[in-house]
């Protein structure tokens, strides 16, 4: 482990040679022992500068602005003139006291976890299926990527048409088999389910691709050995595939989680968070507060957005912790 750590160090301790990729566990002895800290360090910082400037401009500053927005009382007038009074956590209190908060939290949690569970399960099942290398597997796999390639506005509008109460194809199909029509998008008890179904469909390809590539890295010899030992397909999956896929699964789930937490477009296009908040999540609520009304409430909108950022951050930290523990075990 120790020699590996050296490569993950920040470049303030660069190798004396401009070719740092040598995996040699100890620095080459002899001639180049003499250190030139001044110039190399200067060069290192210069190399760091572009990415630092980029990060500050496009990550740190917007985050700072969002935090600032959420801590001030912005009205239309003070937004334009830029003299909004600092009000501390008042916007957060407004948001917490809002009757929309509890349902939005619940919907966000349900939406995220149900989507993740189904996307992962279906993605894994398909990945294992396509790993059999049958004829046309590559073509079929490519077809499964279509949801991922379509612009979200196209797929969300299509779902919205298919699920239309009166003229949608889904209700027409239900009618054909003698089931009563369902108000998919306009009934408070169904609208969240509808957007979850659409989002699962959109998220499966991502899981499929990442998990499939994870499967490729499992040596086939292990399967052969297990087959010789008399393990059936089910056992091979649970004893070999699943454990060896754990690191890939973890990162897939984390990325999926961060992506799903902030899904806005699908819900907004399909239901606008409605009817009457029945499919409102934090993401749509934040958008609704900031942009869904002629009188924008930027402060509370930013506050809700920040809560989402914190939630994503918490799960990111959990992931890092779990990964550290796994590394320590292995």
């Amino acid at each position: 482990m120790t020699p590996m750590n050296q490569t993950t160090h920040p470049p303030d301790l660069p190798r004396p040679t401009p070719v740092p990729a040598e995996p040699a566990p100890t620095p080459p002895p002899g001639a180049k022992k003499r250190r030139r800290p001044a110039s190399t360090q200067w060069a290192a910082w210069a190399f760091l500068a572009p990415v630092t400037v980029y990060l500050v401009l496009f990550y740190a500053y917007p985050l700072y602005r969002n935090l600032d927005l959420s801590l001030r009382n912005y009205t239309v007038r003070s937004f334009v003139q830029g003299n909004a009074p600092f009000t501390g956590l008042k916007n957060y209190r407004t948001v917490l006291d809002d009757p929309t908060f509890a349902p939005a939290l619940l919907h966000t949690a349900v939406f995220t976890f149900v989507c993740l569970a189904f996307q992962y399960a279906i993605g894994l099942a398909l990945a294992v299926f396509f790993n059999q290398h049958f004829r046309l597997a590559a073509t079929l796999r490519a077809l499964f990527l279509v949801p991922w390639l379509l612009p979200l506005i196209v797929s969300a509008s299509t779902w919205s048409w298919m699920l239309n109460s009166d003229s949608g194809i889904v209700n027409a199909a239900l009618h054909a088999v003698g089931v009563d029509p369902v108000n998919w998008l306009t009934s408070p008890s169904w609208s969240l389910t509808s957007v979850i179904i659409a989002n699962i469909w959109i998220g499966v390809p991502f899981n499929l691709v990442v998990l499939y590539s994870g499967l490729q890295s499992i040596p086939s010899g292990l399967y052969e050995a297990a087959a010789l030992d008399g393990a059936n397909a089910w056992q091979r999956f649970w004893r070999i595939t699943f454990p060896l896929l754990r690191p890939v699964s973890a990162i897939t789930l984390l990325l999926g989680l961060i992506y799903t937490l902030k899904v806005l477009d699908i819900i907004w296009i399909m239901t606008k968070g409605g009817p009457a908040d029945a499919s409102t999540t934090f993401a749509t609520w934040s958008y609704q507060l900031g942009f869904g009304n002629m009188l924008p409430a930027f402060g509370p909108g930013a506050a809700v957005g920040n809560l989402l950022v914190v939630a994503a951050l918490v799960f990111g930290l959990v992931y890092i912790r779990v990964q550290r523990r796994q590394e320590a075990l292995s």
Binding site: P16, R36, A49, D166, M294, L295
Partner: protein, 415 residues
């Protein structure tokens, strides 16, 4: 590997990196100054909510003509109407507001409240010929913040063929009970009753307001018994199957598509659909939305205002005013409102419109009876009230709350 050559390479690489960084920062500061107008003061920016008009359209040609007349070049950008208010606010914050802004009328008071717009008193823009009920939408605190380029409103389109099959005489539809009775007949005849838009956006409130006002309710009190009767009317139509459940997700465009399918007897829609009605080949008529007890209900005014946003360089107002006056001059407004299928904001042009196209007659009457959403000095209170109103409509129609509960919680949230 020679150590000095290694060092030289490092320095070169570092210099390159520095140059790249400097280039990136130069770019970012450059984009800020590109928006300022000092560089080319002969160019005036115009923002409008008509993205459907391409460069070759009459509207854009008119902008160029007005620019040429004022001796300047016009740079025009068309935005989606729901986007325009926020884009303008952001631009105003950066000191980059357009010289002339054509914007949806209920937004005017919000922008004016933000100090984004100049009043007509400042710019001496003439509004004396404009109908008072239309101009009221752009007034707040005793000042006027622009002049309407055209107005529209909503009424009931009806399909003559469907009504005939159901045996409904349209002359009998005078108030809510007779309208509901007509819908019942239509349903019995196996056709569909009425379609409208009750979506959870401003459009939903816009479509509900004629019924709300027609019942005698006021926007300052959402939980009145009159308001409840209006919401119950819609709710019962859904319950009895006179209106489809999809109204909850209908925009005015999708609602129009339902009506244009030819199955529906009535469709609540706007002046701007007239051209499409002809295209669809429907045998249709237009009826003002009836009030609860008979007579025509006040419908909300739609349509845009030509406004002049505040600039740092106040000398620009003179030319901006020329542009705005040119866009709203009698001949130009006639042409523009004909392409937009709008009713003109002045009696003079309205008369000409009716003389040329008798179909516009009910629409001109409806516009004259219409009411601005931000009128009655509601101003910036309107957006909040409207949001609660569309939420109440959605709660009641989807069945999650009774009309009474939905409206009282809406009134509670407005405070």
């Amino acid at each position: 590997m020679n150590s000095s050559s290694g060092q030289r390479r490092l320095v070169v690489a570092a210099l390159t990196a520095l140059a790249v960084t400097a280039g990136a920062t130069a770019c970012s500061s450059g984009s800020g100054s590109a928006g300022s107008k000092d560089a080319d003061s002969g160019t005036y920016t115009v923002w409008d909510p008509y993205p459907q008009f391409a460069k070759s359209s009459a509207w854009v040609k008119l902008l160029d003509q007005c620019g040429a007349k004022a001796g300047v070049k016009v740079k025009r950008t068309g935005f989606d109407t729901s986007d325009l208010a926020n884009k303008t606010l952001l631009a105003a914050q950066q000191g980059n507001a357009p010289d002339v802004l054509v914007v949806d009328n209920p937004v005017v008071s919000t922008l004016a409240d933000g100090g984004v717009l100049t009043s007509t008193a400042d710019t001496k823009l003439d509004t004396s010929k404009v109908d008072a009920n239309l101009l009221a939408a752009g007034q707040s605190g005793g000042k006027t913040y622009g002049t309407p380029i055209g107005a529209n409103t909503i009424a009931l389109y009806y399909n003559k063929k469907v009504l005939q099959q159901a045996g409904v005489d349209i002359a009998s539809v005078k108030d809510w009970p007779s309208l509901t009775a007509a819908l019942a007949k239509v349903k019995k005849a196996g056709k569909k009753g009425i379609t409208f838009s009750a979506i959870g956006t401003e459009e939903g409130s816009f479509q509900f307001l004629p019924w709300f006002w027609g019942a005698g309710a006021k926007l300052t009190q959402l939980d009145s018994s009159q308001a409840e009767s209006a919401l119950s009317l819609w709710k019962d139509w859904l319950k009895d199957g006179y209106a489809p459940n999809s109204v909850l997700n209908n925009t005015q465009t999708t609602s129009w598509q339902e009506f244009a399918s030819g199955d529906y007897a009535f469709g609540e829609n706007g002046t701007w659909q007239l051209a499409n009605a002809k295209k669809a080949g429907l045998d249709y008529g237009v009826l003002p939305i009836p009030a609860a007890m008979g007579g025509a209900a006040a419908a909300p005014t739609g349509g845009e205002f030509v406004t002049i946003p505040v600039q740092q360089d106040t000398d620009r107002y003179a030319t901006s005013k020329k542009l705005a006056a040119c866009l709203t001059s009698t001949t130009n407004i006639y042409a523009t409102d004909t392409t937009l299928s709008y009713v003109a904001p002045t009696s003079e042009v309205q008369d000409k419109q009716v003389a040329d196209n008798a179909e516009l007659k009910p629409w001109v009457a409806a516009v004259k009876a219409a009411k601005g959403r931000t009128s009655d000095d509601l101003g910036t209170k309107y957006p909040k009230i409207s949001e609660q109103l569309w939420k109440a409509v959605q709660s009641a129609l989807s069945g999650s709350k009774s009309p009474k509960d939905a409206l009282s919680s809406a009134q509670g949230s407005v405070k």
